[in-house]
């Protein structure tokens, strides 16, 4: 590990100004569950580490226009246990609980969870080329081990997936991310925070260097009270998603009034399934209609040599999750494993 300086910021101005003094080498530190790991692997080499967990962003509170404002330093376990989240946005609590382990969720922050890096094995191995780690060095995953990687929105330069479960739920809910940069505050919508790889896979998000996430806001969304997260992984718990679905459904008299669907484990971004939502709204709430909607979304899928299994897996998971929401069956909000 490269030598670095460690400082603990007490307010956002100090953090942002600290970063601006060392823009080449500075990084913010949340819980460290991703960054400390990457530093040990030699993937991240900050010269200045700015601890932002003591900033006054550790509360979950009602937002001015209704909805919920979640501080960026709120720990993942605290957010999952928050009564308002469990009642009004169960998909978010379930997504959080489906990720990592109790110890890690106690450490991990909301800001760090959003900005965690891909789990692509080549990215984490500094002896291998990787466009995301070293721009222009190539992408060995295209021809190599890509069983767990993207089927949607990838480019020849990078086929990695975004690993966060929480971000999939936030994408379905249409959350906004509040950011403090050198030019002041701005609001970035989800979807829209993360970007597709294109020919710049080294950039995971639309944020600029030095941008500090201060909060995430959930809009008031009635149908979110009936929402659910489903995750398929290789082990029963404690593994990243092969495919996951976050969904909310408002169906009455056999018809879909409104819905929200996002997919995890399939793309470089948490993937909002707009085509599927479009197909469903105003139509019948039948399994056939759910399947047709899933197919509408997955028509754009371009699986790689070894990850074609994700297409039918995503389709079945969408159908099953929507059917459970319609019927009120399946595990309760806390259950993440199908």
């Amino acid at each position: 590990m490269r030598p670095f300086t460690f400082v603990r910021a007490i307010d956002a101005d100090q953090a942002v100004a600290g970063y601006a003094r060392e823009p080449e080498w500075a990084m913010y530190l949340g819980g460290g569950t991703n960054l400390v790991d990457l530093m040990r692997l030699g993937v991240a080499e900050p010269g200045l580490l700015i601890d932002v967990t003591r900033l006054p962003y550790d509360r979950v509170e009602e937002a001015p226009g209704g909805g919920l404002r979640i501080g960026a330093a709120v720990r993942n376990s605290d957010l999952a246990a928050d009564p308002a989240v469990r009642r009004d946005y169960p998909v978010l609590a379930a997504a959080l609980l489906a990720g990592a382990s109790g110890q890690l969720r106690n450490q991990a922050t909301v800001g760090g969870n959003l900005l965690q890096r891909t789990r692509c094995g080549y990215f984490q191995d500094v002896t291998k080329p990787c466009n995301k780690r070293r721009s222009g060095s190539g992408c060995p995953a295209v021809e190599g081990d890509h069983r767990n990687l993207a089927i949607l929105g990838h480019s020849e330069h990078c086929v990695a997936t975004h690993p966060s479960d929480m971000a999939v739920a936030l994408t379905a809910l249409g959350a906004t991310v509040h950011v403090r940069g050198r030019a002041g505050e701005r609001i970035v919508p989800m979807p829209g925070l993360h970007r597709l790889p294109g020919d710049e896979p080294d950039r995971d998000t639309v944020l600029d260097p030095g941008d500090l996430i201060t909060a995430v806001e959930l809009p008031p969304l009635e149908l979110a009270a009936r929402s659910r997260y489903r995750k398929v992984r290789e082990r029963a718990s404690f593994a990243f998603a092969l495919v996951s679905v976050a969904a909310a459904l408002d169906a009455e008299d056999g018809a879909v009034r409104d819905c929200r669907i996002a997919l995890g484990g399939v793309a470089h971004v948490p993937w909002r399934a707009e085509a599927a939502e479009e197909e469903l709204r105003g139509g019948p709430a039948t399994d056939d209609a759910f399947r047709a909607a899933a197919d509408a979304e997955l028509a754009a899928a371009r699986p790689l040599r070894d990850n074609g299994y994700k297409v039918p897996l995503a389709r079945e998971l969408i159908v099953r999750t929507l059917a459970e929401l319609r019927d009120g069956t399946g595990a309760d909000a806390s259950g993440g494993t199908p």
């Binding site: 300086t5 819980g31 400390v36 790991d37 040990r40 580490l49 382990s101 109790g102 110890q103």
Partner: protein, 158 residues
Amino acid sequence: MRVELTVNGEPQVADDVWEGESLLYVLRERLGLPGAKNACEQGECGSCTVYLDGTVVCACLVAAGQAEGAEVVTVEGLADGDALDPVQRAFLDAGAVQCGFCTPGLVVAVHDLLARTPDPAEADVREALAGNLCRCTGYEHILAAVRLAAERGGEGRS
């Protein structure tokens, strides 16, 4: 850098800590507390589980600087003098210890679970211990130890 923290109720000062050290390293190598184990250093095995300001974390992924001013409790801090904590006692009585490498982390994780949920359902136990890997026991004896500790109730449990 210097790191001042409270460990098992005692104020501690670690000098000449290198920024890149983890809390786990500080505990084991600088403060002479080898209870928390160092196995994967990637957050995957839970053998380094300690309390940090009241919640259990993987000490291998906590940067030393982040422990400044913190209250840490390690497995060494659970026993009351020579009297084992009821969770430790239950692990012995249930035969849940083979090579013992995973045990300190598990004991801390179970201690935390029972403090929050004195009578956990099996699903709660499995979920709470998902971050603790054991290569020897196949978990049945560990689950039995948790049940035993829960049955014996809260008396004496700190």
